[in-house]
């Protein structure tokens, strides 16, 4: 029994052994084949002319050897040398006449040699582009899908007709959706470069509507060199469809930038609209209250350097309180003595703005500070190759809408809101009904100032924080309020968004500065036609 088992064991063992031997043999064969390809490639790199080197880089790249990537990378960067004496391939870091070298094949540190003992592995432009393609091909085999995607995108710029087979093969194996899409584009572009008309036509229909910039370039070159009418017609229609979607997405992008700028303007102006609308006070220090909010964000971030996200969220209430309390102090100490004298209020608050600016300059220095953006707010959402929306702008857009909604509800639904509206419409009557007008004034001013502080938190995410931050926004905020109409939150919202969008649409053909000037001139003219703004107050509230 025992012997039998042993025999059986032995009998089974032999084929297994043979099988293993066979497989390892074949694997070994494959291994050696790759190995020879690699060494052969290296040999050509050392001594070949440019043409041979080009072939050699492909050999090295396709060998699948783990050393291939770093060798080719070093070659591209001009750090690959050979030692004249014994033809060792080395990486070298040249420091004046000395060079620190390490072997490219074994990674062994070889210490310092004299520079003239080395010979650089030179490359030319053609070789450089083929090197880049080879490197991309190595990355295509990488296990990480982002590396693969980057590799495909790199490769797209540098395709040859022969690549279509390789790409098709990769496409079959590929599982990641984004990479598949990019690979399909790349395959189609590779097909475009063949001489086969049917293939080209098929490729053009595949590429129609594709927004990758490389596609457009390739179709343009095709249009330039192809003699076939059918191909030309099809390429033209594909280009037209691409152009129309590019202009469509360009429009969307401008709209987004405009809304983003508009939302910032709304945030900056809405506090002003409240104080101006309710108390009839022009607060020239409004910009500085925004600045205080921005500095609050900065300070809280300095206090909590390791949790930027929490610091940002904390700075919203903190900025509201800092700016709001400052506002109430300003109202109680200066503005309340000047009610009914709007021009004097304007001058006094301007004086306050100078003092606040200089205070901040003395405390924090006149230099700009930058506030870090938390990770969930940085980066962008890539809609397609030509349209990407930055996350921080989207966040601020949403944030400003939330602030607007909150303020709107506060003024419409709460009892303090009712009092504020009553005082703004008819102060004497409101007081007769028992509303403490002075208290409402102070609270309203505090509220408007607090909102300015919140605007500062948002602005700190977009620009640098400096003592002049407020000045940059004050005139724009005035324009929004004047344009939208005083005492009307909707007016501020529509006014701000309109001005933002208009600015971004004028900018491409007029330039940023001229766009701003045109907007200012437009508002100066607009206010002549409608002195009360877009949404004038109606009824008895109007003068």
């Amino acid at each position: 029994m025992h012997i039998f088992l042993r025999v059986l064991h032995f009998k089974l063992f032999i084929p297994a052994l043979l099988l293993t031997l066979f497989f390892s043999q074949s694997a070994f064969c494959l291994q050696t084949e790759k190995e020879t390809q690699f060494t052969e490639g290296i040999g050509h790199l050392l001594h070949g002319n440019f043409k041979e080197k080009a072939l050699a880089t492909k050999q090295v790249a396709d060998s699948g050897d783990s050393r291939a990537k770093s060798i080719l990378q070093a070659m591209l960067e001009g750090k690959l040398y050979r030692v004249k004496k014994d033809d060792t391939l080395v990486y070298a870091e040249i420091k004046s006449a000395q060079a620190k070298i390490s072997s490219a094949l074994t990674g062994e540190q070889l210490g310092f040699v004299k520079k003239r003992k080395l010979k650089k592995i030179t490359i030319n432009n053609k070789l450089r582009s083929s090197l880049k393609a080879s490197l991309a091909r190595i990355d295509l085999a990488s296990p990480s899908s982002t590396t693969r995607l980057q590799a495909v995108n790199k490769l797209i710029k540098n395709l040859t007709p022969r690549d279509s087979l390789l790409l098709a093969e990769l496409l079959q194996k590929e599982t990641d959706n984004k990479v598949r899409k990019a690979l399909a584009t790349a395959t189609a572009i590779a097909k475009l470069k063949t001489d086969d008309t049917t293939q080209i036509l098929a490729a053009i229909s595949d590429l129609s509507g594709n927004l990758n910039p490389a596609v457009r370039n390739e179709l343009m070159t095709l249009l330039g060199k192809s003699k076939d009418d059918a191909v030309r017609a099809k390429a033209e229609s594909a280009l037209a469809s691409i152009a129309s979607s590019i202009s469509f997405y360009g429009f969307i992008e401008k709209l987004f930038f405009g809304l983003s700028l508009g939302s910032v303007l709304v945030l900056a102006a809405i506090g002003l609209a409240i104080t101006f609308g309710v108390i009839g006070v022009i607060n020239m220090a409004h910009g500085e209250l925004i600045m205080l909010g921005a500095y609050t964000t900065y300070v809280i971030q300095q206090l909590l350097p390791n949790s930027i996200g929490i610091a940002l969220i904390l700075s919203i209430p903190a900025a509201f309180i800092v700016s709001g309390v400052t506002g109430i102090i300003i109202e109680r100490s200066v503005i309340r003595f000047l009610y009914g004298r709007p021009l004097e209020t304007l001058l006094a608050t301007f004086g306050i703005s100078l003092i606040l600016q200089q205070t901040v300059r003395s405390i924090f220095s006149p230099l700009n500070r930058s506030v870090a953006t938390p990770s969930w707010m940085s980066g962008s959402i890539q809609i397609n190759p030509i349209l990407s929306l930055t996350t921080n702008r989207i966040t601020i857009l949403i944030f400003s809408m939330l602030v607007f909604a909150g303020l709107y509800l506060l003024l419409r639904k709460s009892s303090i809101g009712l009092q504020v509206r009553a005082v703004s419409q008819n102060r004497a009557m409101a007081r007769a009904m028992g509303v403490k007008a002075a208290r409402v004034d102070a609270l309203t001013f505090g509220l408007g100032s607090g909102i300015a502080g919140i605007a500062g938190v948002a602005l700190a995410q977009l620009t640098n924080v400096g003592p002049n931050l407020g000045q940059a926004y004050i005139i724009d905020s005035f324009m929004v309020v004047v344009f939208g109409g005083v005492g009307n939150l909707w007016g501020t919202l529509i006014g701000g968004l309109t001005l933002g969008v208009a600015n971004k649409f004028i900018e491409p053909w007029a330039g940023a500065v001229l766009a701003k000037i045109l907007i200012l001139v437009f508002i100066i003219l607009f206010i002549q036609k409608r002195p009360q703004g877009l949404f004038p107050q109606k009824g008895r509230a109007a003068e």
């Binding site: 709007p342 304007l346 004086g351 005035f478 500065v513 000037i517 200012l520 100066i524 002549q528």
Partner: protein, 362 residues
């Protein structure tokens, strides 16, 4: 005759004009005639500084005329000042001729630097002094006329108008910063050599400019005094105090406002034109909203609705500015800010208001 009538019973104006005449004669005389060792010698630097103050005083009068007497708070009067200055600057630029760094006989240096081939159309004519002087008056007047016509006709008043004037000067600031505008962009116009053939570096020319500033201030003062004492001036005050009622009585409020506003802009333009050769540079910063609002504070400090108050305010604030920005640079903005707050809160009639007997409250 009229002058005597104007000045009778107006102690403030008498003192101001008397002092002005004295300064206009004495300062250049002490600068030119006395040796440098004499204790009464006025250095060229001091004379240039005082000349600058005289221009500021004229500017302050122009603001006082519309704010103090008519209730229009212009936060953009610096724009008219700067436009007058630019017109003068353009004349001075053309006078440089081939003495510029690049030696181009026609194009100013900054145009050569920007590779411009020819002179822009709006630079033609500025080689003549009379043309430039005409523009010093016409350009601010035209801007004021157009802006005022648009604004006053549609009854834009109060803070709205203030904000609009501020937007106006801000728009001009941005525009003049652009190189494409053809006014030297960021750097403005500078490196002037001579005016009417006289070197700007020589003391005699500087003294001449100083006297011209003194005369301009004196004439501006008298004409404003004349206006405010005339029937037109009474209408202005009426508009300031009760605009609607004045309109209902039958006065064309918008016309009165428009002409006074334009006249005020002309005064500001002349002040700018005299300022530029004495300072030696004009750049877009003169358009800055802060600069314009500072003018208003000169008037407020001195005491508005009195012309001598405007002059006194301009001199006092600017002297403290010159002193503080040199001695304690950080303190200047604190002081200016405090000045704004304190004057509006505690001294609505300004410093000169302390010296006057109780009149009607403004």
């Amino acid at each position: 005759m009229t002058i005597i009538k104007l000045l009778s019973k107006d102690t403030g104006s008498n003192i101001t004009l008397g002092l002005l005449a004295l300064v206009t004669i004495l300062v250049p005389a002490c600068n030119l005639l006395l040796p440098e060792t004499s204790i009464f010698h006025v250095s060229s630097y001091t004379m240039a500084l005082l000349g600058k103050y005289l221009c500021y005083a004229l500017l302050a009068i122009s603001v006082d005329l519309i704010w103090g007497y008519m209730g229009i708070l212009s936060l953009g009067h610096g724009a008219f000042f700067a436009l007058g200055g630019y017109a003068m600057g353009m004349y001075l630029m053309r006078q440089i001729g081939s003495r510029g760094v690049y030696g181009n006989p026609l194009l100013p240096d900054f145009m050569v630097f920007l590779n411009w081939e020819q002179l822009p159309w709006f630079w033609h004519g500025f080689q003549w002094f009379w043309f430039a002087m005409l523009m010093v008056v016409l350009i601010p007047a035209l801007l004021a006329l157009v802006f005022g016509w648009l604004a006053f006709r549609s009854r834009v008043t109060g803070v709205y108008l203030s904000i609009m004037t501020q937007a106006l000067t801000y728009a001009l600031l941005l525009a003049f910063f652009r190189n494409e505008m053809g006014f030297g962009g960021n750097n403005g116009l500078t490196d002037f050599k001579d005016i009417l053939g006289f070197s700007l570096q020589s003391d005699a020319t500087r003294a001449g400019l100083f006297i011209a500033s003194g005369l301009a201030l004196g004439l501006g003062y008298l004409s404003c005094l004349y206006i405010t004492r005339s029937r037109l001036g009474k209408v202005c005050t009426a508009i300031r105090d009760q605009e609607d009622r004045t309109r209902f009585i039958g006065y064309r409020v918008e016309n009165v406002k428009l002409w006074i506003f334009t006249f005020s802009a002309i005064l500001a333009g002349i002040a700018g034109a005299l300022y530029v050769p004495q300072v030696g540079i004009i750049n877009p910063n003169e358009f800055s909203p802060l600069g314009s609002i500072e003018i208003v504070i000169w008037v407020a400090v001195g005491g508005r609705a009195t012309l001598y108050g405007a002059v006194a305010g301009a001199l006092m604030v600017n002297y403290s500015k010159s002193y503080l920005t040199a001695a304690m640079p950080d303190a200047w903005l604190f002081a200016l800010g405090a000045l704004f707050v304190l004057v509006t809160l505690l001294l609505p009639r300004g410093v000169t208001g302390l010296l006057r007997k109780k009149e009607h409250v403004i």
